[in-house]
């Protein structure tokens, strides 16, 4: 009897094991084919399906409401905008409109005509009314991206093809803003039918989000056919796409937040693109056949903020102390924390943006000069100070890791930081926005892909004020904000942005220490896979070899 019991136990274990490993259809990807990545297509139904794994943490796919990192990836594939970034470091180019768009002399009116033959996936023809509806809806929803429409006074549609955007102030970033997912052109008939409205009371009356979370209503090359929350989004080719179609019939976008999981599923051929890799998981893929790795800088930038108000910042409000800290930081070390592909921007404008002055010299750190600056400020023996940091991370790297490094660097010149941890939602966020933080380490993700987003760091700007840096403290620099906003000529704007960087290079309450890096890996049967700041990954540019 005892033997029978033991045999029963062993039998159960064996049965479960056999059931698990036994035949039947090979499941998720089914590449029991040895170490190298087989294309996910082989396992997925259909001959040209591509599986992409991306992170989680987004709330909506309604174009009028999206603002997080990943939804633009989906919106960009299913909808189209008046303008689009066809390369990561390029300029916005016409997408739905003809090349002959014009700005009025005062820069307050942008006139465009829609290309001929554009139809939505529903079969409806796109008209200027759809464009006006989409912009007005985004503005009136009063949701996260509505601020993008702040400079838009009104949208006029004199005929079915012509769109006239009236601005309430010159906005040299308007073309970049129009590329953003929130200004994707919606099929207004379909959206209205499903509860959408662009009226002034859209914030209360619009109920189209649930519909737009499960399907798409755009003119893009793909249609969202299903969204299983926290699992996957399926995009299928739009059969009536007006433009040139890709040779990929279907994208399955898996929501896979864990980078180890992505590494394993890519290696096994269950996915084709892994978007959330880390230095460690990238190293695991080294030498794997059929897998290509990309390390590239993003435009998300980490910075040290020192409050200019002496009552809040104490010693760090002193310009000489600020310069001492600038000299004391080990930029190479901070870049290492970010991972391969990271760069240190020259200053406020990130590498990759128009007008960027490139990178800060690698040998900028100079402890002797830092000590000299401290002595000049009257702090030859250093000082103690709180360094507040919150629980957020910059592209997967905890801000506390940067704070620890800053603390170590500053200790070398006698500045002893006491790291104070707070949660973003539990108080830090309020203190940060209200300009109550003396010394902190924070990051800034670009709201839209244009260097003008960085103008908020200028004195009197949204972020400048968080550091107690008012326009009166540096009127010349503050005036450059408006000049950059008004410069619709790219050369002029580039020059102004260059001057801003020179002015802030060794002055002011911000030190930009590193641009976060993005690590992606993909199966080499694909071409066109690139890190994209505006779209996270531009699915419309990916093709099968």
């Amino acid at each position: 009897m005892k033997r029978k019991l033991t045999a029963l136990a062993l039998g159960l274990v064996l049965a479960l094991g056999l059931a698990a490993c036994g035949g039947g259809s090979s499941s998720s990807g089914g590449s029991a084919s040895g170490g190298d990545a087989a294309p996910a297509t082989e396992a997925a139904s259909g001959s040209s399906t591509v599986v992409v794994a991306m992170g989680s943490g987004f709330a909506t796919l309604d174009p009028g409401r999206v603002y997080e990192k990943y939804p633009p990836l989906i919106v960009n594939a299913c909808y189209e905008n008046l303008f689009k970034f066809y390369s990561n470091d390029g300029e916005p180019e016409p997408c739905l409109v003809n090349d002959d768009y014009t700005f009025s002399e005062d820069g307050l009116t942008l006139t465009m005509t829609l290309k001929d033959g554009i139809t939505f996936a529903s079969g409806n023809a796109m008209t200027s009314a759809d464009v006006a509806y989409s912009i007005n809806r985004c503005k009136n929803l009063k949701d996260n991206p509505s601020f993008l429409a702040d400079t838009i006074e009104s949208v006029e549609t004199p005929d079915e093809k012509t769109v006239v955007i009236h601005l309430n102030q010159p906005d040299s970033a308007i073309l970049s803003k129009l590329t953003y997912a929130s200004f994707a052109v919606l099929d207004s008939a379909v959206v209205t039918e499903n509860g959408g409205t662009d009226a002034a009371d859209a914030a209360e009356k619009d109920t189209a989000e649930a519909f737009l979370n499960t399907t798409s209503a755009g003119s893009g090359p793909y249609i969202m056919t299903s969204y299983t929350q926290d699992e996957e989004i399926v995009l299928e080719k739009n059969p009536s796409y007006w433009g040139e179609s890709s040779n990929i019939d279907k994208f399955i976008v898996k929501i896979q937040p864990d980078s180890n999981t992505q590494m394993m599923t890519l290696s096994q051929g269950d996915i084709d693109v892994a978007m959330n890799m880390t230095d460690d998981t990238m190293a695991e893929l080294e030498g794997k056949e059929n897998i290509i790795r990309i390390d590239a800088p993003t435009k998300t930038v980490g910075f040290v903020m020192m409050n200019m108000d002496e009552a809040i910042g104490g010693p760090v409000s002193n310009p000489d102390v600020q310069q001492a800290i600038r000299y004391a930081l080990d930029y190479e070390g901070l870049k290492t924390i970010c991972g391969n592909g990271s760069v240190t921007p020259y200053d406020v404008i990130q590498v990759g943006f128009m007008g960027s002055r490139g990178e800060r010299p690698a040998d900028y750190q100079n402890l002797d000069k830092a000590k000299e600056c401290l002595a000049k400020a009257g702090y030859e023996n250093g000082f103690d100070i709180d360094l507040k940091v919150c629980d957020l991370d910059m592209e997967g790297v905890a801000l506390t890791d940067f704070a620890q490094k800053v603390k170590e660097d500053l200790a070398q010149v006698g500045i002893n930081c006491n790291i104070v941890n707070e949660t973003w939602a539990g108080g830090y966020g309020d203190e940060y926005r209200d300009g109550k933080l003396g010394l902190t380490v924070m990051y800034w993700g670009t709201d839209y892909n244009d260097p003008n987003v960085q103008l908020e760091f200028l004195p009197g700007g949204v972020v400048g004020l968080r550091a107690g840096w008012t326009a009166e403290m540096d009127p010349d620099l503050a005036a450059m904000y408006q000049r950059a906003m008004e410069a619709t000529d790219n050369d002029d704007r580039g020059n102004i942005l260059g001057n801003i960087q020179e002015a802030m290079y060794e002055s002011g309450p911000f030190i930009f220490f590193a641009q976060a890096s993005s690590h992606m890996a993909y199966n080499d049967r694909l071409v066109g896979v690139e890190v994209s700041d505006p779209y996270a990954l531009d699915l419309t540019l990916i093709k099968l070899k």
Binding site: S28, T60, A203, T228, Q229, I255, D447
Partner: protein, 339 residues
């Protein structure tokens, strides 16, 4: 009649308890520092008073807390758990979406844990102090003490990545689309759809996460079964049975195991309740869209309607399971029925 009265009493108790849980969690979400507005709006949107005001009005955050509370409880009495601040969907619908995924995995795990836990416990008791006993005890201690997220990565690495004999993360392979939602259990829904291959695939996807989650409860069940059998074996009626000439194993299975199972049933119930609350890390690693992930995202967003919804769900799980366990006691031990 007694049983009906017992069930009615439990039902009233359940409603009162749920209201208590909702009140407690509501107060806690208001007491802890953190503002849903800050957690859910972008930095730029937070700078726009109009957007902030619209957001606060939409979710009733502009009302005094006491009004928010009574509104919430009033809605709760109509089975309305409110709207998720993070996803803008009804919390009930969100729980209805993610709970079946967790439930399917939890049921699978608890079956593994119970079957193997009791089996190993019995073997360990029969073979007390033998090498088999030592091995089983080592396994149960390992199961109880191993961090689940690490174990999850480990089994995924070996069985999926290295040996390639098990499916990867997720509930289904890429070649299958989710079955039409009837029960929310992919295995059952696939069978209802008439697609046994999809059902088999869904079943195979349950195995690795199911075993990882089962490890902890199985360890507890093994240890509880073993120690209770050994306790029962030292009672008078067993000694009498032995004196009458009953053999060891037969004695254990027919006479000792029944009595020893009552505490084991409690452990199984608690284990199931624990699993139904969702396991954030294991769900994340196995890409399992269950209650754990939903709860985690809700906490990050200070999405208090969802947090309260999850708390009510967990409390409800425990209460229902405890009621079932209490009823099962009666089946296992007639003395409980008499009491």
């Amino acid at each position: 009649m007694d049983r009906l009265r017992f069930l009615l009493r439990r039902l009233v108790y359940l409603v009162v308890m749920l209201l208590g849980v909702a009140t407690m969690v509501f107060i806690l979400t208001k007491l802890i520092p953190g503002d849903p507005t800050v957690a859910n709006l972008s930095q730029r949107a937070l700078g726009d008073p109009e957007i902030v005001a619209a957001f606060r009005a939409k979710y009733g955050l502009d009302q005094p807390i006491i009004i928010q509370y009574f509104k919430y409880i009033g809605n709760l009495l109509h089975l309305d758990l409110g709207t998720s601040i993070r996803t803008n969907n009804a919390v009930l619908a969100e729980l209805g979406r993610c709970f079946p995924a967790t439930f399917e995995l939890a049921i699978f795990s608890i079956i593994i844990a119970a079957v193997f836990g009791i089996l190993f416990g019995v073997i360990s008791a029969i073979k007390r102090n033998s090498i088999i006993d030592q091995i089983v005890r080592a396994i149960s201690v390992t199961g109880v003490s191993i961090p689940s997220f690490w174990f999850a990565l480990l089994v995924l690495f070996f069985f999926y990545y290295k040996l390639q004999i098990m499916p990867g993360p997720g509930r289904l392979g890429n070649m299958f689309s989710a079955p039409a939602n009837v029960t929310g259990f992919y295995v059952i829904d696939s069978l209802l759809e008439g697609d046994p291959a999809k059902a088999w695939d869904a079943f195979r996807h349950l195995i690795l996460p199911g075993c990882v989650l089962a490890a902890f409860t199985m360890g507890l069940i093994t240890r509880t079964t073993r120690s209770n059998i050994l306790d029962v074996m030292s009672t008078d009626y067993i000694r009498t049975a032995k004196a009458k000439g009953l053999s060891g194993t037969s004695l254990i299975l027919r006479h000792a195991l029944g009595n020893a199972l009552i505490p084991v049933l409690t452990v199984i119930g608690l284990g199931l309740g624990n699993l139904l609350g969702g396991m954030v890390l294991v769900e994340t690693i196995f890409n399992w869209p269950g209650v754990g992930q939903f709860a985690y995202e809700s906490v990050l967003s200070n999405d208090f309607p969802s947090i309260i919804g999850v708390a009510i769900l967990i409390a409800l799980n425990y209460m229902v399971i405890n009621t079932i366990v209490d009823i099962l006691y009666g089946f296992i031990d007639p003395r409980v029925r008499i009491q």
